[in-house]
Amino acid sequence: MTEARKQIHLAAHFPGVNNTTVWSDPAGGSHIEFSSFIHLAQTAERAKFDFFFLAEGLRLREQGGQIYDLDVVGRPDTFTVLSALAAVTEHLGLAGTINSTFNEPYEVARQFATLDHLSGGRAAWNVVTSWDAFTGENFRRAGFLAQEDRYRRASQFMLTTWELFDSWRGDDIVADAASGVFLNDPDAGAFSHRDDQFDIHGRFNVPRSPQGRPVIFQAGDSEEGREFAAATADAIFTRHSGYSGGRAFYADIKARLAKFGRRPDQLVVLPAATFVLGDTDAEAEEMSRHVRAQQVSGATAIKLLEQVWNRDLSAYDPDGPLPDVEPRVGEATIAPGRASVRMNKDPLGTARQWREMAEAKGLSIRQLMIETSARQSFVGSAATMAEKMERFVADEVCDGFILVPHITPGGLDRFADEVVPLLQERGTFRTEYTGATLRDHLGLAPLPVPPRP
């Protein structure tokens, strides 16, 4: 008897505002026209993907006190684009990042409940939190959170929205014209919530949506973030896309579920994955080197180096050697609001390591930045890619992938045409959608409806 092969989950990430996205390629199209969003979403749906994913940023990036101009700049409003995409897709899940710091639970709950209604049960929310005053300058709240408060705020924010979602039970609307009864509960939507972040009460005004609430994604990686995800998330958007790091993360996060009374299959682990697909493995390798060179121009190399050095390096030649000066230690101020910069804890160590590598291999600044920037997660022919993805999922590195194309909007086309059919032939990816909701696609059971109080 052969065991059914473990199914892969796939999602399409709209290319981001970072140097992964190669806007300079002749095939690179608009990042703001709706036609680009339609193209990627319909390609993903044609390929029977689980969902489409859109990230969010609430302030244009800056470096050295100026707006960062080397990457794609400009993005749409998450809720508005996902609602419009619901009109041009039928099955595809629609996931978006929404910040819990610069929003209020009542408003976000009604937006996600609305998205779930408008899409027939396909909404998902990647709950993120930020705490920088830089982003706060665009908002009423303005002030920022202490780093240690951010998970408490995010957790209380999200759990408050759950109370709002659950304030309607799904059978509240009778709409019986003959008897004149519209509601069967005079208190439908009633809620009252008080904690140290929120003190709100009243009536929620969006009745229960098809999924009950959006599928919950989290992306946290710290100890606190992992606990939060294990306790409450339906899926985790992880940056551990490598084989060994991914396996360790997967084992860790799945092992945490039991203490919250949850089974391993109730949390889907999905790393972001970049890819370069060629006719042969050798051609893909060659293309991969070319793409990384496109991603790291000389100007970009200097900017990436500044993010570690935390100082202005514009006087340095990207084709020359690394700077003699040491990185400025202390609070990273060169690129406010950029999480990857803030998280660099040991710039002196990084600089030492890079100097050794540059010396040993004779690398210029640009060559070094190409060398140290991550190689694409999957490089190869369609057969190689399909085999490797299956192996990752079978070996419990992850449950699937959120694919990040480097070209907008056509960067997923070849994957859909060449890799997906192979996965389908091998029985590891769906050939048709079998359920109506995103929970169905992800193998998550329907949520129970809470009893009336």
Binding site: G57, G74, E104, R110, N138, I173
Partner: protein, 401 residues
């Protein structure tokens, strides 16, 4: 004067219609109010009638028959969807009609709404607007928990709410302009995606919020999406005259309309805005029927089910499509530039507007017989405005703060 100035005609969509008992009519679809196909169908019908735009009602509280508290009624429509998102859901499935959701600015973030409406403008290819509304209701304040409800005299509260709304619209407008049209350069030689000299901090500092900018969303197709406001008295007339493009007023007769128009135009001139910058429409609730008797019978039936005669902030018309077309023509002669009709029952009154009222108006040469090309702004007669931050452009209105 009536035949050479275009008549603007819009409908206001809300639930099963504006009459509280409309959901019990045989033609109503009260079980579909949360179904996107219901809203797509209504807006497609309005588009088949060549209407200028639809507005979508919304609020940050559950519907209530009482002004300042929730009620416990179970015999009326309760629950709704976010109007900006409904407009976005409808946008790809329509082509010409303007989409103007209603948004409460009292508790929400101007940065978020600015990019949402800019994005609605992208997904509709230049058909977006927003009807801004304020909320002084305690139940909405309690849903946000960030400010106390102020139990002070109505006039003073109203002034504060509309002053905040003025700042809010100013911030939205600056954010819409914070990207110049040619900011995205994609200069492969220098590796620059944007020309940062063409991105602008808006640096708004006001009493209720400070917003730095620029927007995360590039300047939308219309440049400035359309801002509409419903107004019943001097404080909102002044707010609308200073900041809105469309004023929705509720005069009871042509003479009253003339008085309101005069007041709005006076405030406009004080704000340095030409008359043509603001279009003034009259709101009208409509109960239509093939005969006067049928229309009245419908209204009586709905009123009986509701328990008392329907009252509205707007005047109420009950009659035939031909009589409505006649009235529209008369009001237009008095200087009203068009109407936002509030169908008492959906879809029935909307269907009759499209199938009977519009052809009556066309017969009288009062209304277009096809959509022209262009954006919602083009249809309203304004075209695409210069960017306040572009070199050589006039600077926009100053902050009220």
């Amino acid at each position: 004067m009536s035949t050479d100035t275009p008549l603007h005609l819009a409908v206001a969509l809300d639930g099963a219609g504006w009459h509280p008992a409309a959901w019990r009519e045989a033609s109503a679809q009260p079980g579909d109010l949360l179904d996107p196909s219901y809203w797509v169908g209504l807006v497609q019908t309005a588009e088949a009638g060549l209407l200028d735009f639809v507005t979508l009602e919304d609020s940050l509280a559950l519907q209530s028959s009482r002004n300042n508290t929730h009620d416990q009624r179970t015999d009326l429509v309760r629950g709704r969807l976010d109007s900006v998102m409904v407009a976005a859901r409808v946008a790809p499935l329509t082509e010409h009609i303007g989409l103007i959701p209603s948004v409460t600015v009292t508790h929400t973030e101007p940065f978020h709404l600015s990019k949402a409406i800019a994005t609605l403008d992208y997904v509709s290819q230049g058909r977006a607007g927003v009807r801004v509304q304020v909320s002084g209701r305690p139940q909405e304040a309690a849903h946000f928990g960030r400010r106390q409800w102020e139990g002070r005299p109505a006039e003073e509260i109203s002034r504060k709410l509309f002053a905040e709304a003025g700042d809010y619209v100013e911030v939205m407008r600056r954010l819409w302009d914070s990207w110049e049209d040619d900011a995205e350069i994609r200069d492969v030689a220098t590796g620059r995606f944007v020309d940062r000299e063409k991105l602008h901090y808006i640096d708004f500092n006001g009493r209720w919020f400070n917003v730095k900018g620029p927007s995360i969303t590039p300047r939308p197709p219309q440049g400035q999406p359309v801002v509409a406001a419903l107004a019943h008295s001097s404080v909102p007339y002044r707010f609308a005259a200073e900041q809105a493009d469309i004023v929705l007023a509720t005069p009871t007769d042509p003479a009253g309309a003339g008085v309101i128009i005069e007041e709005v135009r006076r405030y406009q001139r004080e704000a340095g805005r030409p008359d043509a910058a603001v279009v003034i429409l009259a709101d009208l609730v409509v109960f239509l029927g093939a005969t006067q008797q049928q229309a009245e019978d419908r209204k009586t039936r709905m009123d009986d089910r509701f328990g008392h005669p329907y009252r509205s902030d707007a005047p109420i018309f009950t009659g035939t499509p031909a009589a409505l077309a006649q009235l529209i023509g008369e009001w237009k002669d008095a200087g009203i530039q068009g109407f936002r009709l509030r169908p008492a029952g959906l879809p029935v009154d909307l269907d009759l507007i499209v199938s009977d009222v519009v052809p009556e108006l066309q017969r009288r040469s009062l209304f277009r017989t096809a959509y022209g090309p262009g954006t919602l702004r083009d249809r309203m007669g304004w075209g695409r405005p210069a960017n306040r931050y572009a070199q050589g452009a006039n600077v926009g209105p100053k902050a009220t703060a």
